[in-house]
Symmetry: C2
């Protein structure tokens, strides 16, 4: 009965793994803080241990269909090679899939974390029932996943779905680490929100703001969570930052709708947890930056559902029946 | 032997129809200037006559698999309804497919012209052999088509592929007829090029330019073709307009590559015929506005091949084996 899949979400702060049934039920899970800065040997061993524990809990390898992993950063899904993962020092040119297949003698697959999360949301979360789902995660970066008919759209070289680097302001003063000026990630991610608040408060010394008190004047400590809290308490600067962020996301999603006409847009990640005020601004802006506002208005723009286990579900979904792991 | 398809390209200036074999050979064609301004009765009758002539040339209805049409403007492909076609006065809420099916007692299908042209280029033109083709046509407007595995990607409401309305400058002074500020169509289409040249020459009265001579000072007569000619003759203003246009297209295509990772990008339409200087600028700019310049560099960015018959091929392709005309 090889019907369980090991799903492992390898992040910069924790390794979260679980056993998932073919119907998408998470039956066991293991989470361990990752000792990323001890280097690749240590962190890879941690991943290995999580998988070992899950296989034991499944009653042995005989019950495992495969090992699915998701990880941030650049990777070649076809060869299972992690090219680099910025939050995992030493994870460079790591043959993750080959190594694990050798160790466990089980098939393994790896996927970009935003694609995996998008697949999970489309199959089991807020995107259930829609044939085309555009998944967005807004946190330290902005990741996206295009899911068509329950499959990740991967493009020709396997790197499609990087909608976070779509440019909405080619003349922006802000350059993303990707090299692009004014892509949505550099304008609307968590760090972009913090930067915006800080710059405003530095430029206008007289403007009062809860953010000054919350950080004790150390404006570099401003976080998206603080901005959300301050906005809720009525802080004008925090609210204007939320408003700008919603506007940028709306401009961008208006374009994505013109291009992709998805059945639903699912937004996850820490910044999305700000909720209503952000979603309201996004929805409103879309109507001014898309070809068919009447059709755009029909598209549900909903918060993600699967929360902290989304990566486990997504990684496990790579072995869902019908997923061959190799097609777009 | 029902193996021929009638393909009809209904444009604002001509109706072009042809008979196409299942392997994509055009065996007969008929072109007639459309009397668009005589109203829908006249222009619809012209379309009907073209189809009648082609059926006669095929040796009768028994040899026809179906009638495929493509048309600019907004249409609902699933119901075969033309919502409106800006260049065809009176083509509003026209049940094109139903009408033709009633008249000819043959199955009919209609598709947006950029999608149809993209399909044709992917199947028989410059995109042959690539699984994911991003097709672009730059002329009066900017249209795009996303072709995946020999099928048009249509999205959930059937209106996907309107990449011409992706915004690259949310703060632009130019608003597109679609309502969006700074979408690529309003910045880089033929009329946008003409506008850019005119504005520059109006603002700087002292700047000499061949475009002044070519238009006899009537700057509103500047056309993209004139700009191309003047640029070839070394005119500085014309060259700067070409350069800007290539830059905008490059910024936009850099984003499209990050998102879609296509196997090839095929560029058609009148403006694309400017050729080398434009393509060079596009290719160079993409590398500065995309996530993976090394991977982007591998993507062929090529001129369209099928020229004036692209619409006929595309329309006929709607009845290619495997095309059910209804799925994304």
């Amino acid at each position: 009965m090889r019907d369980l899949t090991v799903g492992v979400d390898v992040g910069g702060t924790k390794v979260a793994g679980g056993l998932v049934t073919p119907k998408g039920h998470l039956v066991k899970s293991v989470v361990t803080p990752v000792r990323a800065f001890d280097g690749v040997k240590t962190s890879f061993m941690q991943v290995r241990r999580v998988i070992e524990r899950l296989i034991a809990q499944a009653g042995g390898k005989g019950n495992i269909r495969g090992i699915g992993l998701c990880s941030p950063g650049a990777l070649d899904r076809r060869t299972g090679l992690v090219i680099n993962a910025p939050n995992l020092p030493g994870w460079e040119n790591l043959h993750l899939v080959k190594e694990l297949e050798k160790i466990f003698n089980l098939p393994a697959r790896v996927e970009n974390d935003a694609n995996a999360a998008g697949l999970a949301e489309a199959l089991y979360g807020a995107g259930m029932g829609y044939r085309e789902v555009f998944y967005v995660t807004v946190s330290t970066g902005i990741g996206t996943g295009i899911i068509i008919d329950g499959n990740i759209y991967r493009g020709n070289q396997g790197v499609a779905g990087e909608g976070g680097h779509v440019c909405i302001d080619y003349n922006s003063p802000y350059r993303c680490t990707c090299g692009t000026l004014g892509c949505i990630e550099v304008l609307a991610s968590g760090p972009a929100m913090a930067r915006r608040a800080r710059v405003r408060l530095e430029q206008e010394h007289a403007v009062p703001s809860l953010l000054r008190t919350m950080t004790n004047g150390k404006l570099h400590l401003i976080s998206p969570e603080m901005i959300a809290d301050a906005a809720r308490a009525g802080d004008a600067v925090a609210n204007s930052v939320l408003d700008d962020t919603g506007f940028y996301l709306g401009v961008w999603l208006g374009s994505m709708i013109s291009l992709l006409d998805p059945g639903a847009i699912v937004i996850g990640g820490g910044v999305a947890r700000i909720g209503k005020p952000l979603f309201a601004k996004i929805r409103n802006t879309i109507l001014h930056y898309t070809l068919n506002p009447k059709l755009a208005q029909k598209i549900p723009i909903v918060p993600a559902k699967l929360q902290q286990n989304v990566g486990i579900y997504g990684a496990a979904s790579l072995f869902r029946p019908g997923q061959d792991g190799n097609r777009s």
